[in-house]
């Protein structure tokens, strides 16, 4: 007699799939449409940025950081610059700080626009995609005006920014930011109270605050669960301590709350940009002791006066080691979460080790937690709601 056997259906979603936002690969073990097990595979876009940067001077590393999270390259640049400035002890001029803050927020809006566009497209609302693209295009044009580039800007410099902004740019930006909240409302009319959207997002992909922290989520993904954590408020950098803004926090930790958080962030970003333009001080845009573009390969003079240490073991070489290898960790609030740079310096102009703490990497790791037990369609919604960029995830 023939015995009947059953087996789970294994679905290989990605690395080429329209909704995995790049080259994420998920192996889904499904029973019907319910997901029993979800295993993410990353690394298809691994370019070895960390290894590569060990062989480049600090200035040369800067354009590499553009290629991490290509949707908000400005914030990557700023994050790297802040880490190196912290290491070298460079004090950035006020004007440069405000310009950076303004540009960071514009990049955040840009990135969130892509997010709302693709997230809505994944769930099936195609029109939002093009509405968001329209406004993103305008910001990219503004970027082009100042930096000459649209996506990979490489605009900030270690110790400031590359070139000054002019009044035309400021006027245009201010005007656009005045109108921008209305445009956000436009997207919201399409989806915010849409029954289908609510059904697809409310109560789906729920993660509690404790779990979200335990899984290491950051950014709006964490705040959607009701945890108040924002690098801009906790460890202010650039001019974030001089502008006023709120950090929207969700409650339920589902896809809808994460969506809502980002939608509110649009408005806060516009507010920050307007304040930056109003308060923009005069002055230089580059610190005097900033490294030149053609940075000599060695050695690097680092101010080590504030180093303090205590050794509890008997070893003569250790003291020399401790004073030679200095390290700093600096992080910024990228659109996806906390983007951290951990740099170990060996007194040469090249980083001895550069570690990038990529929020997308962590979020992709948490996907199984969000997806298991839900339906295939929810996987797509979840990928959209954690907003990952594989360039940053794989580095």
């Amino acid at each position: 007699m023939k015995t009947e056997t059953t087996r789970e259906l294994l679905i290989n979603m990605g690395p080429q799939h329209p909704a995995t936002h790049g080259v994420l690969r998920l192996v889904l073990e499904v029973e019907g449409e319910v997901i029993k097990k979800c295993t993410p595979y990353v690394g298809y876009l691994h370019r070895g940025v960390e290894k590569l940067s060990e062989d480049l001077t600090y200035v040369q590393v800067l354009p590499l950081t553009d290629r991490l999270d290509y949707l908000s390259s400005m914030i990557n640049n700023v994050g790297f610059c802040i880490a190196v400035e912290k290491l070298m002890g460079i004090e950035v001029p006020e004007r440069a700080k405000f310009i950076r803050t303004m540009m960071s927020e514009m990049a955040r809006i840009c990135s969130h626009l892509i997010w709302i566009a693709t997230h809505a497209l994944d769930i099936g609302a195609m029109t939002v995609f093009l509405y968001a693209m329209r406004d993103r295009e305008y910001i990219l044009e503004l970027f082009e005006m100042v930096t000459g580039a649209r996506l990979t800007v490489s605009y900030p410099r270690i110790g400031g920014v590359r070139c000054d902004v002019n009044n035309e740019f400021l006027d245009k930006t201010y005007k656009f930011m005045d109108e921008f909240p209305k445009k956000v409302e436009e997207y919201e009319t399409l989806i915010d109270r849409n029954r289908v959207w609510l059904k697809r997002t409310k109560g789906v992909g729920v993660i509690t605050a404790e779990e979200a922290i335990n899984w290491g989520l950051t950014g709006p993904t964490l705040r959607g669960s009701g945890v108040y954590y924002d690098v801009r408020k906790f460890f202010p950098y650039d001019a974030y301590d001089k502008v006023e803004f709120d950090v929207p926090v969700g409650k339920n930790g589902d896809i809808y709350d994460r969506y809502k958080c980002r939608m509110l962030e649009f408005r806060q970003s516009a507010k920050i940009i307007k304040q930056c333009i109003e308060k923009l001080p005069e002055g230089s845009i580059l610190a005097e002791n900033a490294p030149k573009i053609r940075m000599p390969a060695s050695p690097l003079k680092i101010d080590k006066r504030d180093i303090k240490f205590e050794i509890y073991i008997e070893d003569k070489n250790i003291e020399e080691f401790i004073t030679k290898f200095t390290d700093v960790y600096a992080s910024v609030e990228a659109p996806r979460g906390e983007l951290g740079f951990y740099i170990v310096c060996d007194d040469s102009a090249k980083p001895y080790r550069m570690r990038i703490r990529a929020p997308s990497f962590v979020h992709a790791g948490a996907l199984p937690r969000l997806c298991e037990g839900s339906l295939i369609a929810d996987v797509i919604a979840n990928i959209g709601s954690i907003d990952i960029v594989l360039g940053e995830c794989d580095r």
Binding site: I11, P18, E33, I123, G124, M126, R200, L375, I376, A377
Partner: protein, 334 residues
């Protein structure tokens, strides 16, 4: 003998004319869809081929016909080839009974509604076969989803038409249109508003259109059941889908909007309207429904699979049953 031959001849000619017009409609429905959605989404849509891209559908058809015919190596070859043909044949056959005006119908059979529903049901086989024979998991899931969706929504679709059948006391589509003229507003839309609502929702699901386009959900299943198809076979599925849309729009027009007739109060207000031939009214009503398809596609996100089934079984079917009961009671007492 001569009589039979002439009937065959006339039917063939009618079918050919019908076929030609339908194909042109389908081709330009794709064009209209692209243009309408483009304008909803602040785009221009096709602009290159001809004036405002007017020749785009023809270019598309030519391209699809001359494309390499790829049959993947590990598919069930025979079924893979037959599947799109089943879908297309089923979709085309439904038009045999659809009257576009007083005298224009290929076959005026007495169980027109049942025939349309039955033949539309056969179309599902094409989709299931395509999903199964492709030997691909995405296609397989798409096929399964489609089967479940169509079966459950066919119930709602048929039930929503029961009210119309009760009021018209006939299954014949021409009869249904004629009967509507006896009602004060000239169409079943108003007395059968619940039925119409159920019909519209079920129609969207039945033709796999947003917000119910789960079998071919682009972002989930890539393209669903026809993911392995390309070239002319792919085009046949597309053709079948648009034909089904036209079929459903026609059915909605005939059963709820009074087909080719004009509501009497409109004639009273504007007697000149009577000069317009019935077929124009019919087409206008069909185009309105087609526009509804496109409009919804430009506006709504997609439902999830379980939600779709819940709507079908828990909302639409009870509503349709309620409609039948209400209609019967009215019918009994009037």
């Amino acid at each position: 003998m001569m009589e039979t031959l002439s009937i065959i001849f006339i039917t063939t000619v009618k079918t050919l004319i019908y076929f030609g017009i339908l194909m042109l409609h389908v081709a330009y429905a794709t064009y209209a869809e692209r243009k309408i959605i483009a304008h909803i989404q602040l785009r221009l849509g096709p602009m290159v081929v001809g004036y405002h891209g007017i020749l785009q559908p023809i270019a598309d058809v030519v391209k699809l016909i001359f494309k390499e015919d790829i049959v993947p190596s590990n598919v069930d070859r025979r079924i893979f080839i037959i599947a799109p043909l089943i879908s297309l044949t089923a979709a085309l056959s439904t038009f045999a009974v659809i009257p576009v005006s007083d005298s224009w119908v290929i076959s005026d059979i007495h169980v027109g509604i049942l025939y349309v529903l039955g033949i539309a049901g056969i179309g599902i086989y094409g989709i299931i076969f395509a999903g199964w024979s492709s030997n691909s998991k995405y296609a397989f899931l798409g096929g399964l989803r489609s089967a479940a969706q169509m079966i459950s929504y066919e119930v709602a679709l048929a039930m929503s038409l029961v009210g119309v059948i009760l009021m018209a006391e006939s299954f014949n589509l021409t009869e249904i249109v004629k009967k509507q003229a006896e009602y004060p507003l000239g169409m079943f839309l108003f007395p059968q508003i619940i039925g119409y609502f159920v019909f519209i929702v079920a129609m969207l699901a039945e033709t796999n259109r947003l917000p119910f386009d789960l079998p071919e959900a682009e972002t989930e299943l890539v393209a669903g059941y026809f993911v392995e198809y390309s070239g002319i076979r792919f085009a046949l599925f597309y053709l079948a889908e648009y034909l089904a849309m036209f079929c459903m729009s026609s059915l909605a027009t005939i059963c709820f909007w009074g087909g080719w007739t004009i509501p009497p109060f409109l004639i009273k207000a504007l007697p000149i309207l009577e000069a317009i031939p019935g077929i124009v009214w019919f087409l206008l009503k069909v185009y309105f429904h087609m526009f509804l398809f496109f409009w919804l596609r430009g506006t709504l996100p997609r439902y999830r699979y379980d939600q779709l089934m819940a709507i079908g079984w828990k909302v639409l079917i009870p509503l349709a049953l309620l409609n039948i009961i209400v209609t019967s009671i009215f019918k009994y007492y009037s």
